[in-house]
């Protein structure tokens, strides 16, 4: 009898007008930050790096890649945002279309005009239908004059027409979480009193005019799609009901497909939703669109798995599956689906650290070092080792696992030693934090790779010098991580409450009391996340940080939701203060600016999220004494998953 995993929907072709997608995987548009920037008015250049980025997804089997472009050189979100109609981009644009076509993949242009939102600080000029600032943004806007609107429309049309000439297959307009066109459609932002505002029909007029102009330029057979924000998720914004109204009007206006989107800059955590938002949370939006219009719909929203995607299609909740982060994390997702290698798919965990965390500098992925480095580390760049060596990897945290995985894939004879009974190292603690349980994918994926490659992992084995001598490997990689430090606070020895580092606390939950102070000295998940965890234990939590906010180095969407949880669950948050000393049953804090002291009492537990120190005794013992001795991960310097994995990948390719 047939199995359910034949993906007969996901892998079936889909035709829109004259364009046929070979399967339903669509690489959603996103700002990569790879565009070259040679200064004001000399920027937005579509670089080689850009091309490789999209070709990588085509290589991986996606049916279409959507490339974000800005049509208007005067109003930009960022200088590193690709400029649409820029003559110097011609060669690379053509190259992209040609190269992705070789893989049977289509190239879709996504056109945007920055409007009232920006990543620049400060921007030169922001524009809007009515003069007002985007609530989250500090910069006010120019109210567009009709001449401006005509010019912008022309920019749209030129970009669309030009791309078509260069061989691109479809064009998509952004009426989405950022950009000008949504501000026209949104009742809050458009208070115009001319024919472009004041009623639903008027608000739709400008976008529909742009669409009509593009239609005239590209002809009836060229698909025009809209990335449509169906719910602004803000106190001032529209919700799904209005979103459906827009959808219907667009359908009437001759649009060929709609790509679901949500959120705004004010609700930025809904735009690129991080892990607290469940997988597939937005399917109901696509399903609603399917009920309201007859044109094809692309689903989005933390879709990271082919089985999930197949269900969406099989139930008729969408026609195409939009994936961005999943295809960054594992560009081969479509190919692996076709080959039935579901366990080999590395799933995006929605951490947002690599892709969004750099706030528009450029896109990376903590699990896939190939993102932004496709030339060196992308698909097909892994070379077989010329000389197969016996590689001993000490430590099965993420660095050790990654070295082992890549070295084994290159043909080396690898063995991994782990002193604990499980792999994963510190990530095992990290995954306990609320909404961080998907982190387990980071080591689960590598563990399965090692199993498939036949790499043995020796658990409960603490490697000492004798064992290394006994095994006598040609290559020794030490990835023994780090251990936490507690600063030498004054009065620590006579403190009456329990004081420990956060790792110890997570390993010994019973030691966490009812009145907990978490000292976020490191600005990352170890501080705020553990405070979140303590609240889950129903403890009364106080968070103290010398920075201006808790989790100051955490990606902003995650950080917002984390802080929201802390505040809503009753945490007391004290920013801009450092721990000065312990005084019996009290902790004395000090304002980092004026050194005023604040005394906190009634605490039974103090958890320190601070620095760690590398554990590298084994590395030091053998360095210079054996032919090839390396270290990786926290063992080199305590950092995060992204740095550990990149370092490990590069190292393993050198061996």
């Amino acid at each position: 009898m047939e199995t359910r995993n034949d993906f007969k929907h996901l892998l079936s072709p889909f035709t829109m007008g004259k364009v046929t997608f070979k399967n339903r995987f669509v690489f959603l548009p996103h700002h990569t930050g790879y565009a070259l920037d040679e200064g004001y008015l000399e920027n937005g250049l579509f670089s080689d790096r850009n091309v490789r980025h999209y070709v990588e997804r085509a290589k991986g089997g996606a049916a279409a890649v959507t490339v974000s472009q800005n049509v208007d050189p005067n109003s930009q979100m960022s200088f590193k945002y690709v400029l649409g109609f820029e003559p110097r981009n011609k060669d690379n644009f053509k190259r992209l279309a040609d190269e992705v076509h070789e893989y049977g993949c289509k190239a879709i242009t996504q056109l945007n005009q920055g409007g009232h939102t920006t990543l620049m600080n400060p921007p030169q000029l922001l524009v809007a239908p009515t003069q007002m600032n985007e609530p989250y943004c500090h910069f006010n806007t120019k109210e567009l004059e009709k001449e401006d609107m005509e010019l912008i429309k022309e920019y749209y049309v030129n970009s669309a027409a030009w791309q078509k000439e260069l061989g691109w297959d479809a064009v998509e307009l952004k009426i989405a979480h950022d950009g000008l066109l949504r501000t026209f459609v949104s009742p809050f932002f458009n208070r115009r009193e001319d024919e472009y505002g004041g009623s639903f029909e008027n608000r739709m007029r400008y976008p529909l005019e742009v669409i009509a102009a593009i239609r005239e330029a590209v002809g009836p057979d060229y698909p025009i799609g809209i990335r449509l924000c169906v719910d602004e998720f803000t106190w001032y914004g529209y919700s799904l009901e209005y979103g459906m109204k827009i959808a219907k009007a667009l359908e009437k206006g001759g649009v060929d497909y709609l790509s679901t989107d949500a959120g705004t800059f004010s609700s930025w955590y809904m735009q690129i939703p991080p892990s607290p938002l469940p997988l597939g949370w937005a399917i109901y939006e696509s399903a609603e669109l399917k009920k309201n219009v007859d044109i094809p719909i692309t689903a989005f929203g933390r879709i990271n798995d082919p089985v999930q995607a197949e269900t969406i299609l099989a139930e008729g909740n969408a026609d195409l599956i939009g994936m961005c982060r999943q295809l960054l994390c594992d560009p081969q997702t479509p190919n692996k689906t076709m080959e039935g290698r579901l366990d080999d798919i590395r799933h995006c965990i929605g951490c947002n650290e690599g892709c969004v965390g750099v706030d528009g500098i450029y896109v990376e992925c903590i699990q896939n070092p190939g993102v932004s480095r496709e030339k060196r580390l992308g698909i097909g760049t892994l070379e077989e080792a010329k000389e197969k060596k016996h590689v001993m990897v000490v430590g099965a945290g993420v660095a050790g696992l990654k070295v082992a995985e890549i070295a084994a894939k290159r043909g080396h004879n690898v063995q991994v030693y782990e002193k604990d009974s499980v792999v994963g190292g510190q990530v095992r603690l990290a995954e306990k934090l609320p909404y961080r349980n998907e982190l387990e994918e980071v080591y689960r994926y590598m563990k399965i790779q090692l199993q498939e490659l036949g790499v043995p992992v020796y658990y409960n084995t603490e490697v000492d010098e004798a064992l290394v001598m006994q095994e006598d490997p040609e290559v020794l990689v030490v990835a023994t991580g780090s251990s936490p430090l507690i600063p030498d606070f004054k009065g620590l020895k006579t403190a009456e409450m329990a004081v420990m580092d956060v790792r110890t606390a997570l390993k010994n939950v019973e030691k966490i009391g009812n009145n907990v102070l978490v000292y976020d000295d490191i600005g990352f998940w170890q501080g705020g996340g553990v405070a979140d965890y303590c609240q889950a234990l129903n403890a009364q939590v106080t968070v103290v940080t010398p920075s201006a906010s808790v989790g100051v180095d955490i990606e902003s969407g995650q950080a917002y939701l984390l802080n929201k949880r802390l505040y809503e669950n009753g945490a007391r948050i004290i920013t801009n203060h450092a721990i000065a000393r312990f005084d019996g049953g009290d902790v004395v804090l000090e304002n980092v600016y004026n050194h005023e002291e604040m005394r906190l009492g009634g605490l039974d537990t103090v958890l320190i999220a601070g620095q760690s120190r590398s554990v590298n005794g084994l590395y030091k013992a053998f360095k210079g004494k054996r032919p090839e001795v390396y270290s990786a991960g926290d063992c080199v310097a305590p950092r995060a998953i992204e740095q550990a994995i990149l370092e490990a990948e590069v190292l393993a390719r050198r061996i």
């Binding site: 799904l240 399903a287 008729g316």
Partner: protein, 282 residues
């Protein structure tokens, strides 16, 4: 030994879709398959025939397209196949179906009748016992194993936590469970399905079809219980509430989760006192 196996062609209910606009069942494109229980029934029959010799006849009642399932059974190795198809038997409930099929069995003759314990579309499990009653023979349902030794039937039933062993003289009827064996592969065959109509049987016309069915479907409603694979968010809530609902997976989050803590002994005692657990204890 003369065995009759009764099979049914059913829609693959896992593939059944609801049209999102009309809220009606979409039959188009839903594949028809052999009722999985009946496939195991076929294998049971064929294995017995291989062991003891004899003949296996497979019978089904339904529209003309059901012959494809019977062809599949012939390819599995059935010796003969009969499709009872007639508009006069349309709309039969289990009583009418059981009557019609028992008359077919009488006509064909049998030592042992095998059916699947239930069909995955109707899931009533009633037709087998009704046939047995009409034929006046013993029945065994929830059967996981069938043996015939020296002309005597030996079966095992799965009842609750137990496996029950029974014996009976043939002729008898057994209803088998799913997945109790591995159905053999279908291979090419030249055999054809034989069509039987109401006129070929000696039926009391008042007892067949919709007229012979005491049960009547009076109302249908799309089921809310169907597990949707996504969560819908109430649009009338404020943006903040909508986001909260999304993060909570569409569930009203309790104010604070009442986390039970304590020793395993204390927790297990507390569970035994908790009605939401103890009410399920048999």
């Amino acid at each position: 030994m003369n065995i009759i196996v009764f099979v049914k062609q059913v829609p693959d209910t896992s593939e059944v879709k609801i049209d999102s606009k009309t809220n009606n069942l979409v039959r188009e494109g839903v594949p028809s398959i052999i009722n999985p229980y009946d496939e195991n029934g076929m294998e049971t029959a064929l294995a017995l025939r291989d062991e003891l010799g004899g003949k296996v006849t497979v019978v089904s009642m339904g529209p003309m397209q059901a012959s494809s399932t019977l062809e599949y059974c012939l390819k599995m190795g059935a010796d003969e196949a009969v499709l009872v198809s007639d508009r006069l038997i349309g709309g039969s409930d289990t009583l009418a179906t059981g009557y019609t099929l028992s008359e077919v069995a009488k006509k064909l003759g049998y030592d042992l009748i095998i059916c699947g314990n239930e069909a995955i579309d109707g899931c009533t499990g009633q037709v087998g016992p009704i046939m047995a009653e009409n034929l006046g023979i013993p029945q065994f349902t929830y059967v996981r194993d069938v043996q015939v030794e020296a002309g005597r039937l030996k079966v095992q039933r799965e009842v609750g936590r137990n496996i029950e062993f029974y014996e009976a003289e043939l002729p008898a009827l057994v209803c088998v469970l799913k997945d109790i064996n591995r159905p053999r592969k279908a291979e090419k065959t030249d055999k054809k399905v034989r069509l039987m109509k109401v006129a070929d049987l000696d039926l009391d016309l008042q007892k067949i079809g919709n007229g012979g069915s005491p049960t009547k479907v009076v109302k249908i409603k799309m089921s809310d219980a169907r597990a949707k694979s996504y969560v819908t968010i109430d649009d009338s809530l404020s943006a903040e509430e909508r986001i909260r609902m999304i993060i909570n997976g569409g569930i009203e989050k309790k104010e604070k989760i009442d986390l039970w803590r304590g020793t395993p002994e204390a927790i297990s005692d507390r569970l035994m006192e908790y009605d939401g657990f103890s009410r399920y204890i048999v």
